[in-house]
C-alpha cells in the first residue's frame, strides 16, 4: 500500500510543484512534520500559484496501532500549503480513491463554489477525476484543510495551511513550528459509529464505579442517584477516547516524540491546529507561558496564559520564549483525560522533558446540564427536586430537563433527550475539565481582536440554534432535527448582520463551525470582539456570535465532532441577495 508510483511523481513535478515529502526513507512525514524539525524553513512546503494534491489510499502506523488511511501526497498530516495574502492560487486535487472525495479549506474566505462541501458547494470529486480549486487569497494566518466526504478526515485527510500577510509577517519570530494535533484509531470510523449506536458509552472506560464510591472518589452516593435518576452520566466527556485513539502531534505519538528545535532566547511561534476527528485537547507546555497572538488565524491582542483548550477545528498561534531548560514537553491532553501526547521543544534532537502524569478525569456538574443554580435560593440545602419548580420565584420555570417551553422550535422526538432548562452564557467560563487547575487558563472572554471589528452594526435580528442529542441512542442534531431528516436551510440576507445564539442542550462541548465566514463572539464590549470560524459551546451553556453574512452562496454549518456532523448536527446556511437574484 505504500508504493508510490513513478507516474504520480512525474505528474507532480510536471505541475511544477516541489515534492520532497513521503519519498524514500524519511517515511510518511513531510519535513516540517518530521521529528527534529528545525522549523518552517523546509523545502517541502507547497506554495506558489499552482499546487497539486493527490488523494490516495494508504496505511498509517503509530504506537503499535496500524490501519488503513487516506492521505494527501502520501503523508499524514497532509503537506503544508503556504500561501501569500493577495495571490490567487490554483490547487488541483486528484482523486485516486475508489470513492468520492473533496477538500474543504477550513477558515478560508473563498467563493462558496470553491469551499469543497459535496452537495452544498460542488458535486465532489469522483474517483479518477481532478478538480481544480481556484480562489483569491484575501486573508492571512493559520488554517487547515481536510476532506468533507464521508469519514476521510478521521483516517488521515487533513493538513495545515498557512498564509503570510501581504505586508510581511505579523508577530515576527526567529523561528516557527507547526503543530497539527490529531487522533488516530485503527478502528474504522464507521465501526466506531456502529459501536456507539450499540452503547452510547462504548469507549468510556472512566465511568464512576462502586469501587470508586467505596474509596470516596467522584460523586457521593446522593449525587450518583440524582444523576442516575436522570439517566445522565457525569463522566460522559468524550465519545471516542484513548481506548482506541492514539493522540498525535504532526503524526507522532509520545514515543515517537516529535521534536521541534529552538535556540535559547529565541521567540518561537507555534501554529497549533486541532485537526482531530473527535478530540478536544488541553494544550500546555509546562514551564513555558504561552502568549496567544492569534485565534482561528486572526490576530488577537497578545494575552499570556498557561493552558488553552483547543477545540476541534480551532487554531491558535502562540509565541513562546524557551531558554532556561534544554527541553520542554509540549502536552496535548484529551479533555476526558483518557490519553495525551507529548511532543518536545528542545535545543537539540534527543533531549526530552518529563511527561507529566495524566490528570484526573473531570466530572460534569449541574452547570453542564444547563442548570446552574449558583447562588440561587433552591430551598433546603441546595437540594434540587427536578420534578417541580425550585421555589416560588421560579414558578413558570420548570426545572424539568425536557421542558418544551425553553425551546419552542425543537420537536421533541427520540433524538432529543434533554433541553437545558436555564442555559447561561459560558464564553467567559473556563472550559470543561479546566475549571479548577491551579494556573492560568484561556477563556474566550480573554480574547480581544487586534484589529477593529469590521462591521460595527448591531444585529437587526437574532436566531436561536439548539444543539441537541440523545447520547444513549447516539443521535445528534440541531434544533432536534438531523440534516438528513429534511432540515430546512438557515437563510440569511446578503450583508445582513444577525446574532446567532447557540444553546447547548447536551452535556458535551460542541465546536460549531460556520464555513466561509468569520463571526464575532459576543463577549466584552463591541469593537474588538474575537473573530472566529469555530466556537466551542460548553455543555449546557450558550454562546452567541454576531455574523455579517457577507459570503454569497450556500455554506455548511456544523459541529466539528466528525461523528456528530455525520449523524446530522449540521445545517446548510444560505446567503442570498434580498429580492432574490436567484
Amino acid at each position: 500500500m505504500l508504493t508510490k508510483s513513478p507516474f504520480d511523481r512525474r505528474r507532480f513535478l510536471a505541475h511544477g510543484t516541489v515534492l520532497a515529502a513521503g519519498l524514500g526513507t524519511a517515511g510518511l512525514f513531510p519535513a516540517w512534520a518530521r521529528s527534529g524539525s528545525a522549523g518552517l524553513r523546509t523545502p517541502d512546503v507547497l506554495s506558489g500559484d499552482t499546487i497539486a494534491l493527490t488523494i490516495a489510499e494508504n496505511h498509517f502506523a503509530t504506537g503499535g496501532r496500524s490501519a488503513h488511511a487516506v492521505m494527501v501526497n502520501d503523508t499524514l498530516p497532509a503537506p503544508l500549503i503556504r500561501l501569500r495574502e493577495g495571490q490567487t492560487v490554483r490547487i488541483a486535487v486528484t482523486n485516486r480513491l475508489a470513492e468520492q472525495t473533496s477538500i474543504h479549506w477550513h477558515g478560508l474566505l473563498v467563493p462558496f463554489q470553491m469551499d469543497g462541501v459535496p452537495g452544498v458547494s460542488f458535486p465532489g470529486i469522483d474517483p479518477g477525476q481532478t478538480f481544480t480549486y481556484e480562489f483569491p487569497v484575501i486573508q492571512a494566518g493559520t488554517y487547515w484543510y481536510h476532506s468533507h466526504s464521508g469519514m476521510q478526515e478521521a483516517v488521515g485527510l487533513f493538513g495545515p495551511l498557512v498564509i503570510d500577510p501581504r505586508d510581511g509577517p505579523a508577530d515576527a519570530c526567529e523561528r516557527e513550528h507547526i503543530l497539527v494535533l490529531s487522533d488516530w484509531s485503527p478502528m474504522h470510523p464507521h465501526e466506531q459509529l456502529r459501536r456507539l449506536k450499540l452503547m452510547g458509552g462504548y469507549f468510556n472506560r472512566q465511568k464512576q464505579t462502586l469501587a470508586g464510591l467505596l474509596a470516596g472518589k467522584d460523586q457521593p452516593l446522593k449525587d450518583r442517584l440524582e444523576w442516575a435518576k436522570m439517566r445522565m452520566d457525569p463522566t460522559d466527556i468524550s465519545d471516542i477516547t484513548g481506548v482506541t485513539y492514539s493522540y498525535l502531534v504532526n503524526g507522532h505519538g509520545t514515543a515517537e516524540n516529535w521534536t521541534g528545535l529552538f535556540a535559547p532566547g529565541e521567540r518561537v511561534k507555534l501554529r497549533v491546529i486541532n485537526a482531530s476527528a473527535m478530540t478536544n485537547f488541553n494544550f500546555r507546555i509546562p514551564g513555558l507561558p504561552l502568549t496567544v497572538v492569534a485565534a482561528d488565524g486572526l490576530p488577537v491582542q497578545p494575552v499570556e496564559t498557561d493552558e488553552v483548550q483547543i477545540a476541534i477545528a480551532e487554531t491558535y498561534d502562540f509565541i513562546v520564549t524557551p531558554g532556561a531548560e534544554p527541553a520542554y514537553g509540549v502536552i496535548a491532553e484529551a479533555i476526558d483525560r483518557s490519553g495525551q501526547v507529548r511532543a518536545t521543544l528542545a535545543r537539540s534532537e534527543g533531549l526530552v522533558a518529563p511527561v507529566p502524569t495524566i490528570r484526573k478525569r473531570p466530572l460534569l456538574t449541574m452547570r453542564d446540564m444547563g442548570m446552574d443554580m449558583a447562588g440561587m435560593d433552591m430551598g433546603t440545602n441546595g437540594e434540587i427536586d427536578l420534578s417541580k419548580p425550585a421555589n416560588d420565584s421560579m414558578s413558570g420555570h420548570s426545572m424539568s430537563m425536557r421542558d418544551p417551553s425553553v425551546a419552542p422550535q425543537v420537536p421533541l422526538g427520540p433524538g432529543v433527550a434533554t433541553l437545558s432548562p436555564m442555559p447561561v452564557d459560558r464564553l467567559a467560563d473556563r472550559p470543561t475539565g479546566l475549571e479548577d487547575v491551579d494556573h492560568r487558563v484561556l477563556t474566550y472572554a480573554d480574547l480581544r481582536s487586534r484589529e477593529a471589528n469590521p462591521d460595527p452594526r448591531v444585529p437587526t435580528r437574532q436566531i436561536d440554534v439548539h444543539l441537541t442529542a440523545n447520547m444513549e441512542r447516539y443521535m445528534w442534531s440541531l434544533d432536534g432535527v438531523a440534516l438528513s431528516e429534511g432540515a430546512q436551510p438557515i437563510p440569511f440576507r446578503l450583508g445582513e448582520r444577525v446574532r446567532v445564539n447557540l444553546i447547548n442542550d447536551t452535556m458535551m462541548p460542541h465546536p460549531i463551525h460556520l464555513h466561509g465566514h468569520f463571526f464575532e463572539l459576543v463577549t466584552g464590549e463591541p469593537g474588538h470582539r474575537p473573530r472566529k470560524h469555530t466556537v466551542n459551546v460548553l455543555p449546557g451553556g450558550k454562546a452567541s456570535f454576531d455574523l455579517t453574512a457577507d459570503g454569497e452562496g450556500d455554506w455548511a454549518f456544523h459541529c466539528h465532532m466528525l461523528h456528530h456532523m455525520h449523524s446530522g448536527m449540521m445545517r446548510i446556511v444560505t446567503v442570498r441577495r434580498e429580492g432574490g437574484a436567484a
Binding site: 450499540l198 437574532q462 438531523a482 444553546i503 474588538h528 455579517t548
Partner: protein, 337 residues
C-alpha cells in the same frame, strides 16, 4: 479581509436598535418574575436586559465568573469589560423578520441542478445511519444438581435510529433433551421517545410441548436509574393471553468488572393446560451475572440463575413430577459482532 461587495449594505438597521429591548419587556413571558430573589452570580438583570432568564434572548457579556484566569498583556484593552459593567442596551439585536428560505441551491449557477441534487442526496444518504449487529447477552452453561444444561438469549438487528427489524432468540434446556424453552421472535422496533421503544411482531415457541405462535406487543427501554425494562403482551394462535416483564441493570464494580442483576416474571391470563400453565403468575427468574468486559463486544461471566414456577403452574409441575424451582451456577460469555 471583508469581502469587497459589502460597502453598500450598512444601512437602515440602526433604526431598529432602540425598540427591541422595550418590545421584549412587553412580550417577555417572564416579565413578572421576581428576579430579585435570584442571585445568579455575575448575571446582570438591571435595565432592560433579561438575558439571564429569557431563554431566547441575547446575553451580551453575561456570566464573567471564573474568568480570573488569565493575565492580559494589555490590560487597558479590557477596561470596562467585567461582570459589573452592564451590557450596552445599544448592543441588543432587533427583531427583523428572517428572509425566506431559497428554493434553489446556489451551486446551480455552476452545475446542473440534477447533478447538485444527486450530490446532496448522496451526502444526506450517507448521514442516515443504517447498521446491523448480533448481540448475544447470554450464552451459558448452567450447572445444577444432576441435570446440567444451557441457556442463551440475544438478538440480531438491522435498521436505523428509529426503526429496526429485530430477530430475537432465547432458549434453555438440559443437555441431551429437547429444549425446555426455545423462543424465536421477529419484531419491528420503533423508537417512541428518547428512552423507550415499541415492539410489534411475532414469537414462535418451539420448546417442550406443543408449539405456539404469539402476536407480540411490547415496550422496552431505559428507565430512570439506568434500569433496562421491558414488558410484553402475547396473544397466541389458540387465543391465550400471556405477559412477561423484566428489569435489569449494570452495576459497575470497576470499569471492567460489572455485575448485572436481572429479574423477570411471566404470567398467564387463563389456564393453558396444553403447555402446563395455569392462570396467574407462572414463573419468576432471578439472576446475577458478574462479567469482565474485555470490551463492549466480549465479556465472559459467571453467575447464578434461579427460577421458580409459581401458583397453580407450580402445582402442575409438581403433579408431573418436576420440581418447581431450580438454582444453577452459570458460566458463559456475552458478546456482540
Amino acid at each position: 479581509m471583508r469581502r469587497p461587495f459589502a460597502a453598500a449594505l450598512i444601512a437602515a438597521p440602526a433604526l431598529l436598535i432602540a425598540t427591541p429591548a422595550l418590545a421584549q419587556d412587553a412580550t417577555d413571558p417572564h416579565a413578572g418574575m421576581d428576579h430579585g430573589s435570584m442571585n445568579m452570580s455575575g448575571m446582570d438583570h438591571s435595565g432592560t436586559d433579561h438575558a439571564g432568564m429569557d431563554m431566547s434572548g441575547p446575553e451580551p457579556d453575561a456570566a464573567d465568573e471564573g474568568a480570573e484566569s488569565t493575565a492580559v498583556a494589555e490590560p487597558a484593552a479590557h477596561a470596562g469589560h467585567n461582570a459589573a459593567s452592564p451590557p450596552s442596551a445599544a448592543d441588543t439585536p432587533g427583531n427583523a423578520p428572517p428572509p425566506p428560505v431559497p428554493a434553489d441551491m446556489a451551486a446551480e449557477a455552476f452545475y446542473p441542478r440534477a447533478v447538485m441534487q444527486r450530490s446532496l442526496n448522496a451526502t444526506l444518504a450517507e448521514m442516515r445511519f443504517r447498521g446491523s449487529a448480533v448481540q448475544v447477552d447470554q450464552l451459558e452453561y448452567r450447572a445444577n444438581n444432576g441435570k446440567d444444561g444451557y441457556g442463551f438469549e440475544g438478538m440480531a438487528w438491522y435498521g436505523g435510529d428509529i426503526d429496526r427489524a429485530v430477530l430475537g432468540f432465547r432458549g434453555e434446556g438440559a443437555f441431551g433433551e429437547t429444549p425446555e424453552t426455545l423462543e424465536l421472535s421477529g419484531t419491528w422496533r420503533h423508537a417512541l421517545d428518547p428512552w423507550y421503544n415499541l415492539q410489534l411482531g411475532l414469537r414462535q415457541d418451539l420448546g417442550t410441548g406443543p408449539d405456539r405462535t404469539y402476536a407480540l406487543i411490547g415496550i422496552e427501554g431505559l428507565a430512570p436509574y439506568w434500569l433496562e425494562v421491558d414488558g410484553q403482551l402475547l396473544l397466541s394462535n389458540k387465543g391465550d393471553v400471556r405477559a412477561r416483564a423484566g428489569v435489569a441493570t449494570n452495576l459497575r464494580i470497576t470499569n471492567r468488572l460489572i455485575l448485572e442483576p436481572e429479574a423477570e416474571i411471566d404470567l398467564a391470563f387463563q389456564d393453558i393446560p396444553e403447555i402446563a400453565i395455569a392462570s396467574g403468575l407462572e414463573k419468576i427468574e432471578l439472576s446475577a451475572r458478574l462479567r469482565y468486559e474485555f470490551s463492549g463486544m466480549f465479556a465472559p461471566y459467571v453467575g447464578v440463575f434461579w427460577e421458580r414456577k409459581l401458583g397453580d403452574t407450580a402445582r402442575l409441575a409438581r403433579a408431573q413430577g418436576e420440581g418447581a424451582g431450580t438454582v444453577s451456577a452459570a458460566a458463559g460469555v456475552r458478546f456482540a459482532f
